[in-house]
Symmetry: C2
Subunit: 219 residues, 2 copies
């Protein structure tokens, strides 16, 4: 792997995921070629930014001709390691867990939630969409078989660290955390936090009338 690939900044990876969502849809509809200007129209991300983001990973597209959609889908999927199915554990089978498990875009990008866990005895043994809900206490033993490396935490804040510790013990290496809690994790486990309140606070800053010159908060 080229050194430049390791150095790609996180915002570039976030944008690649956005490009991939749009390109996958275009590919499904049979669109062959696309220009960086078309991508700007679709994604709201500047065409120059699009070209720069791709440049971290080698040569793409041809000047004046554009980009082959199918090729771009395949290459971005490979960069993001989503070209093969990724198994995902979901911990928390409440409203949020249910919304996540039912999110239509997951399967389109090869994310497959393979099991849901909850510590509420009224939920254990029931189904969440097409998933079995297991006792959180079984997380380590279940994942010895399931072998998922990715997990989503959708439990209340006070339960999040306990769940994270179990996930680490279960050899999970990447966590998407929806709980408003800062998780302590070993250095080989990566985490991304989705914080609704943080998002609203950033929007709130942009609401003030005297901030209209600020660049937009869109991403």
């Amino acid at each position: 792997m080229a050194n430049s690939m390791r150095k790609a900044p996180v915002p570039t990876l976030e944008r690649l995921a956005t490009y991939l969502t749009h390109l996958t849809e275009l590919n499904t509809r049979g669109v062959d070629m696309i220009s960086s200007a078309d991508m700007e129209t679709r994604t709201g991300i500047n065409a120059a930014q699009f070209r720069k983001d791709l440049s971290y990973f080698g040569e793409f597209g041809r000047p004046g001709i554009g980009y082959n959609v199918e090729d771009l889908v395949r290459r971005i999927a490979r960069i993001l390691k989503v070209e093969r199915e990724q198994r995902v554990l979901l911990v928390g089978a409440g409203n949020l867990g249910s919304a996540i498990a039912g999110y239509p875009g997951l399967r389109a990008q090869n994310f497959h939630i393979v099991a849901a866990f909850d510590n509420n005895f009224s939920k254990i043994g029931r189904r969440l969409w097409d998933l079995d809900i297991y006792d959180t206490a079984e997380l380590v033993s279940r994942n010895a078989e399931l072998q998922a490396k990715l997990a989503i935490i959708a439990v209340p804040a006070n339960a999040a660290q306990g769940v994270a510790d179990l996930l680490v013990e279960a050899q999970v290496k990447a966590i998407l955390n929806f709980a408003p809690a800062t998780l302590k994790l070993p250095p080989d486990v990566v985490v991304r936090n989705v914080d609704f309140v943080q998002e609203l606070a950033v929007l709130s800053f942009h609401l003030a009338a005297d901030n209209t010159e600020q660049e937009t908060a869109g991403r």
Copy 2:
């Protein structure tokens, strides 16, 4: 307002919101002073980054002594315009809308969801936690009275643009969008998109064994 304030980059604003969450909790517990090193331990964000983020907005803290927690809460809340209650509309009263409306951190940061809207007749007229659920068709007329400037979209992708158009008509100026759709909005309306799949794709990139030198994806 100082020009430097308008120039604060979005990631700085995101981190300010994270600091505020932690500082509010410390303040509630009666903690008086905190060092940037303590903040690093709590938030996982580098102490130098913390000091730099604050420096956009003037002088804070004293070398060797630290930061007064209550003062910092007040000043960051003022920067983010969350020192007063912000009224928020919620569109979509399904699992995701329910999870959002029940999110405990919203009230702590002065975000007040004042009404929920849905176009499903089995939901209209019922309650979502302590909220009335109104018909989405009434959004513009209801907000003439409610006067919310912030809204959250928690509807399926194919309904999102229609809802966004209504929100614009209702004079909403900032939208937190959970639908996997790119919204077309006038330039005076800011949007932030929460995209679960994008977050998972970034984590997926970091999962590969040969990427362990990559900086962590945490934020």
